[in-house]
């Protein structure tokens, strides 16, 4: 260090001062509160008002929620329990204790509850390769392909040969397609495969199945669709509609943009018709109108009818969501695909769809959530979804008059499902980084 300024400057600090702690009012909970809650008089007033409101609501609701009625056997019994505990009012949770299994499984036979539970676990496994592709071995996808057949067999029971033969139909169709495509044009080979599969299902299966079931009676107890109910019914309908509506929706969206007038008008007509009609109407068609048109004694399962209607309904909405994604893609992407010499399907598969679907994720998941919640509408056509069951439970003289407890429970379970879907969608968006940032 030089002495040049030694006389002119009285003091020169030779070391850095250590950092001081920030003032107490700007750190810790106090600082956070000051910055976020009380940054101005208006904010401070709003904070106090909101806090008072929350405390008031909790003060009113919590004592009601926390009530010693878990063991109650009827509404009257609940009231006695409350009176014994010195509360004048409170929830009657006994109804949930007695009926939660019914709310979950409907009238499914008690001894068979493991089947829907197992199906649900299989469902989680089956969708894992789609949802968390990087964590799950790709081989699991084979299980995903088998899952629909396993699920149908587990849920409805009966002989194992029905689902097995149905699965073999796909195998037959595929084999025919493979061999035919060596000889004839791919489109013709595809048609041949489809025809072969249809022949298998409609001609060979009905012949073979009764005999097979007799010779090798492998099967589990058969369960009627009428015995389905509660959340199991909602999830069965919801998951089917969700799984089927996405591919159908993609095809409809592509069809709507097609240059072929026939394809285009069919797709537009379908989408606009379905979107122009309330779901309730479609459900009534499924339950009431088809009954009149179909011959008496026809065994056209009501759940299957409802599934088809809900799927079509969801597919129309899905098509429009995906069309939004397609419209958002710059034209250069399409031209780029063309310039690479890709044909239509290659371009869609490799370039267009990955980007369009990525953009549409929030819309797609919204539609999924909407469809899942819409399944409660089936209570109108006398199917026992959770809402329908809550009515039936109230018709029991023991529980007549119980409203909030049932609705809170149903709402809570729905929230768990819908919220997980929504969180997953946010995770997926972050992972795929859809923002074009």
């Amino acid at each position: 260090m030089s002495d040049t300024h030694a006389e002119t400057v009285a003091f020169v600090r030779e070391t850095m001062l250590p950092q001081k702690a920030p003032p107490a009012s700007t750190v810790g909970p106090l600082g956070w509160a000051k910055a976020n809650l009380f940054s101005s008089y208006v904010n401070g007033a709003l904070t106090i008002l909101s806090a008072a409101f929350i405390v008031f609501v909790l003060y009113e609701i919590l004592p009601w929620l926390i009530s010693p009625t878990w063991e109650g056997t009827s509404l009257t019994n609940c009231r006695e329990l409350l009176a014994a505990a010195g509360d004048d009012r409170g929830a009657c949770w006994g109804v949930i204790r007695e009926r939660w299994q019914q709310l979950m499984f409907g009238f499914y036979p008690r001894t068979e509850y493991w089947r829907p539970v197992l199906t649900f676990i299989f469902l989680l496994v089956a969708i894992a390769p789609i949802l968390f592709a990087q964590f799950v071995p790709a081989k699991v996808a084979y299980f995903s392909a088998l899952f629909p057949f396993i699920a149908v067999w587990l849920l409805w029971g009966g002989t194992i040969w029905g689902p097995v033969l149905a699965l073999l139909g796909f195998v037959v169709g595929f084999v025919v397609f493979r061999y035919a495509s060596r000889a004839i044009a791919p489109a013709l080979a595809l048609a041949a495969g489809v025809v072969a599969a249809i022949i298998w299902w409609s001609v060979i299966t009905p012949f073979v199945e009764p005999d097979l079931s007799r010779i090798l009676p492998i099967g589990i107890r058969s369960v009627q669709s009428r015995e389905f109910g509660g959340f199991m019914l909602s999830i069965t309908i919801g998951v089917t509609a969700i799984m089927c509506s996405l591919p159908i929706g993609i095809l409809l969206a592509l069809g709507r943009q097609s240059d072929l007038p026939l394809v285009k008008s069919i797709c537009v007509g379908f989408i606009e018709f379905i979107r122009g009609v309330p779901l309730i109407t479609l459900l009534f068609v499924a339950s009431v109108l088809l009954n009149i048109f179909l011959p008496p004694g026809t065994n056209f399962d009501i759940i299957l009818r409802v599934m088809i209607m809900v799927t079509l309904f969801a597919a129309a909405y899905m098509a429009e969501v995906i069309r939004g994604g397609l419209a958002a893609l710059p034209k250069g992407q399409y031209e780029g695909a063309d310039s690479l010499g890709l044909d239509y399907w290659q371009a869609q598969r490799l370039i267009i769809m990955p980007q369009a679907l990525k953009i549409s994720i929030p819309g797609i998941v919204s539609t999924f959530i909407g469809v899942f919640k819409d399944t409660t509408l089936v209570s109108i056509i006398s199917m026992f979804d959770p809402i329908g069951l809550s009515n039936a439970i109230r018709a029991d003289t023991a529980w007549n008059g119980v409203y909030w407890e049932l609705f809170i429970f149903i709402g809570f379970v729905f929230f768990v499902f819908c919220f997980s879907m929504s969180r997953y969608s946010m995770y997926l968006e972050r992972k795929l980084n859809t923002g074009h940032r």
Binding site: R79, E227, D301, R394, D396, T397
Partner: protein, 339 residues
């Protein structure tokens, strides 16, 4: 589900006409189960318990018919129907009979092509008011606010009643019974009106049922009964006479407790003997075995037993017999002779 669907829809479509005319009894016997339409849930009349077993006043009629045919009250497939789906379910053959507190009206019997086989409950529209209101007759309800379910016959009956008595009211439209209960208790209306049996069931759920009274006026006729399709009178006869057997059993003192003993040998009342099949061959006339009525009574009890067990004064619903007593006790129940 599965392939039967595909076939049903495609191939059988052309053969529709023939199947419809087949006798319902044969279909039921071939199926091994009675398909009976019930309500999705009406307190006392039809409700599933925690194990999924249906029980109630209407349900008992289904069980009685199943017992008469199969000697097994469990051989019933209960098909829940709503007010909107019940008639199509019956007309399309999805159900063999409907026992779902359905009012017997002219147009339902004729235009909708159904046959009501009897009346298992004589109901009527009534009013419930809080005691504190100090009203003892519906005619004193001038200017009252009335909770009323929209789109039902009760709405029309209400308008008629107030017009005839030249008094005014203010309707509070509500959608469901559940909503009505909440609105009424919250004081949104002075009185709630619906079928008297429904009012009794509703009142039984209140914290203080004694603070509310059901007014004596019944302003409409609501004969509720089981019904079947037009076109198969033999099947209608089976349901009608099974129900009549329950009513007659009460009149002659046959109960589920003593029916086994009374039917073991012919007694001294020939009517009871014919009813229980120890004399004559009434069962064969309707295509059932001789013990059909005995089986029905043994399974569910006579009319009075069913009433007491499901909606009577010993249950929370607490309905008095009133019009639904035997004619010998001043009611309207009057079973034609078994002869």
């Amino acid at each position: 589900m599965k392939k039967s669907v595909f076939f049903g829809a495609l191939t059988v479509a052309g053969l529709a006409a023939g199947a419809a005319a087949a006798a319902t009894l044969d279909d039921v016997k071939a199926r091994g189960k009675l398909n009976c339409g019930v309500a999705t849930g009406v307190p006392g009349f039809a409700a599933p318990d925690a194990a999924g077993e249906w029980a109630g006043f209407d349900v008992a009629v289904c069980r009685a018919v199943a017992a008469a045919i199969f000697n097994d009250p469990k051989a019933v497939e209960f098909i829940p129907t709503t007010g909107k789906t019940r008639f199509t379910a019956l007309a399309s053959g999805e159900i063999d009979m409907l026992a779902r507190n359905t009012t017997w009206t002219f147009s339902r019997d004729t235009d909708l092509k159904f046959d009501f086989v009897g009346v298992n409950y004589y109901d009527g529209q009534g009013f419930i008011v809080p005691k504190a209101l100090g009203v003892s007759s519906a005619k004193e309800l001038d200017g009252a606010t009335v909770c009323i379910q929209t789109g039902t016959t009760t709405e029309l009956n209400l308008a008629d009643f107030f017009r005839i008595n030249n008094i005014s009211y203010e309707p509070v439209p509500i959608e469901t019974n559940a909503e009505a209960q909440q609105q009424y208790l919250a004081g949104a209306c002075d009185t709630y009106t619906t079928d008297a049996s429904g009012l009794a069931a509703t009142r039984s759920t209140f914290e203080a049922p004694g603070d509310h009274v059901i007014l004596p006026e019944i302003i409409s006729k609501e004969p509720l009964g089981p019904l079947v399709r037009h076109g198969d009178s033999e099947w209608g006869d089976i349901v009608r006479w099974t129900f009549n057997a329950l009513v007659a059993a009460e009149e002659y003192g046959v109960t589920s407790a003593n029916v086994a003993e009374m039917s073991s040998a012919p007694g001294d009342n020939p009517e009871v003997n014919r009813l229980l099949g120890t004399e004559g061959d009434l069962g064969a006339m309707i295509g059932l075995d001789a013990a059909w009525a005995k089986n029905a009574i043994a399974a569910v009890g006579n009319y009075g037993e069913i009433f007491e067990a499901t909606i009577g004064e010993s249950t929370p619903i607490g309905l008095a017999r009133g019009l639904n007593a035997q004619y010998t006790n001043g009611g309207l129940l009057y079973a034609p002779p078994f002869r």
